[in-house]
């Protein structure tokens, strides 16, 4: 059974169909890329999957269960993590505390957490993540004081802290120094190998997507134009025309 099944999602704004009958699946352990020119409906699709906007029709199933319309909290509890295109860290908390808070709520009860250890047993995991992301030198600084690139890494590390089964990454390369993009790809590959989760990556950086993803969905004007391996997508004439014109 597929981990995630997106079935015939449609979302219109007036006469404009932002997403027009998109379907695809994500298998366990798979890294799926979603690409497309500006205005192709990637972000609308992303927000429809995460329940942040309500599609006109269609459904999203996670592990066989319909998750359409679930709250972000309910999705996180099911094991669905996400990153944000715009920075979304807890600015006054330290980097380490940002990582701890991203995982602390997944064990014990609300009341039990009053009496729990300060880090609720996830401090060690936070330290491992800090080491993996090479952020030791800024671990105890407020996240709001970090550079844009560092905050982007914190945002990504937070999504992986509770060991989610599925992570949706919204333009992880946006605003990241080009010299660090390869390092970011290696980090995601390491996390995929270590944790075994599935990723859905929406990204403009073609090189990044082609080297990271197992499969790629190409969207144009709200529809799926092509699905295939990176090599197949790169060789697909329709995809090239969509990006480069006839």
């Amino acid at each position: 059974m597929s981990l995630l099944s997106v079935k015939d999602i449609k979302k219109s704004y007036g006469a404009i169909a932002a997403v027009d009958g998109v379907s695809f699946t994500v298998e366990p352990g798979e890294i799926l890329g979603v690409i497309g020119p500006n205005g192709s409906g990637k972000t609308t699709l992303f927000n429809s999957i995460l329940g942040q906007i309500k599609p006109n029709s269609g459904s999203v199933e996670f592990d066989g269960k319909n998750i359409s319309g679930l709250s972000p909290l309910a999705m996180s509890r099911l094991g669905i993590g996400r990153t944000f295109q715009n920075l979304q860290v807890f600015g006054k908390l330290t980097l380490r505390d940002n990582l701890i808070v991203a995982a602390q709520e997944f064990s014990g009860s609300l009341w039990g957490r009053i009496l729990a250890a300060g880090d609720n047993g996830v401090g060690q995991r936070a330290d491992e993540m800090i080491e993996l992301f090479r952020l030791e030198h800024v671990a105890n600084l407020p996240a709001g004081a970090l550079s844009y690139g560092q905050q982007k890494l914190v945002d990504i590390a937070m999504a992986f802290m509770p060991k989610p089964r599925l992570v949706l990454l919204d333009e992880p390369c946006a605003g990241v120094n080009p010299s660090l993009v390869d390092g970011l790809r290696d980090l995601l590959l390491t996390l995929n190998a270590r944790q075994g989760g599935s990723f859905v990556v929406i990204e403009h950086n073609m090189d990044f997507v082609m080297k990271l993803c197992h499969r790629v969905v190409c969207m144009v004007e709200g529809r799926v134009l092509a699905v295939g391996t990176p090599a197949e997508i790169q060789a697909n004439r329709s995809v090239l025309e969509a990006y480069l014109g006839n």
Binding site: V89, F90, G91, K92, V101, A102, E105, P162
Partner: protein, 322 residues
């Protein structure tokens, strides 16, 4: 000496200084000091709601009123202070939960106005339900309690009770803030959208921050009624709620010792400015305005504000040198 040991030592010295203070103070001075401790307890609760969880509340004096009236009414009915106080805390906790629900729908100043409306309703209740609250005549002759047969009627004895409760309330809050709850409150304050997507139950933590904050106001109210011996609706109006907010903001919102400093300034500074006669309130107001302009993070943010200014200056110098 490490920072934590220095901190502990300063704390012990501070509490010991307070413990010996009654020996050096006259009646009014001791009353002010006791009232300051009561206000600290109330402001600590508001600091949890406003400073740590990032919500808005202008109903804190109303919650304190619920605590004060509960204790006064219960004691008049022959119920012990030691039973009435936990009852007041539970009632305030439940009202805090209730007023937390609007916070799930509205935010910022809209939430402030929603809570302000609740405070106005409470004052109307205190004023109009004479059969219960005594109306504008209030409730008089509220006795101070006894502890194991030892009367706490004396000013010094009651001061020590309030000091003990303040220390316990502060320790409980410190414990809460060091637990995962403290981090969840901060996450709720810094970025509720992100908090929810990382599994933080923002509904539960929003309600809890209001309920616990209100419970602290309830403790303060329970201590206030026997301190002043007489309560009427006037100390629990919106003006006092604004004063509590001022205490939190001036001291340092979201900083543990902010309410301690803030309530000292809000309560004691006007007293020390009395030499200025009619001008004392104007000087006090102007001091607060200047403080908010130059130290919007409160007095306890002085160090970090200076550090930030220095790093900005250094960055400019570096840029100019390049």
């Amino acid at each position: 000496m490490s920072w934590s040991k220095l901190h502990l030592a300063a704390l012990v010295v501070g509490v010991l200084a307070l413990a010996v203070a009654p020996a050096f103070l006259k009646t009014y001075g001791l009353y002010l000091l006791t009232l300051w401790l009561v206000y600290i307890v109330a402001a600590m609760g508001l600091n949890l709601t406003v400073g740590y969880a990032g919500l808005k509340s202008l109903a804190h004096a109303g919650f304190m009123g619920i605590g004060a009236y509960t204790v006064a009414i219960a004691m008049k009915a022959g119920i012990s202070f030691w039973v009435a106080t936990p009852l007041a805390v539970v009632i305030c906790f439940l009202f805090g939960l209730l007023i937390g629900f609007p916070a799930l729908r509205v935010q910022l100043h809209y939430l402030g106005f929603a809570t302000l409306g609740f405070n106005v309703l409470l004052v109307l209740f205190f004023r109009n339900e004479e059969w219960l609250t005594g109306g504008t005549f209030g409730i008089q002759n509220i006795k101070r309690p006894e502890l194991f047969g030892w009367s706490l009627n004396g000013n010094a004895a009651y001061f020590y009770l309030v000091l003990a409760v303040t220390v316990i309330a502060a320790a409980a809050l410190a414990f809460l803030l060091r637990s995962p709850w403290g981090r969840a409150f901060a996450a709720l304050r810094d970025n509720p959208i992100r908090a929810e997507s990382t599994g933080v139950n923002i509904t539960a933590y929003t309600l809890m921050s209001f309920a616990i904050g209100a419970a602290y106001a309830g403790i303060a109210g329970a201590l206030f009624a026997p301190l002043v011996n007489f309560i009427d609706p006037s100390p629990f109006g919106v003006g006092t709620s604004l004063l509590f907010l001022l205490m939190v903001v001036v001291g340092g919102s979201g900083r543990f010792y902010g309410p301690v400093l803030g309530s000292a300034i809000a309560l004691l500074l006007p007293e020390y400015l009395r030499f200025a006669k009619d001008w004392y309130l104007a000087i006090f107001g102007l001091s607060v305005v200047l403080m908010m302009i130059y130290l919007p993070g409160g007095l306890l943010s002085l160090k970090s504000t200076l550090q930030l200014a220095k790093s900005k200056r250094d960055a400019k110098l570096k840029e100019a040198a390049q």
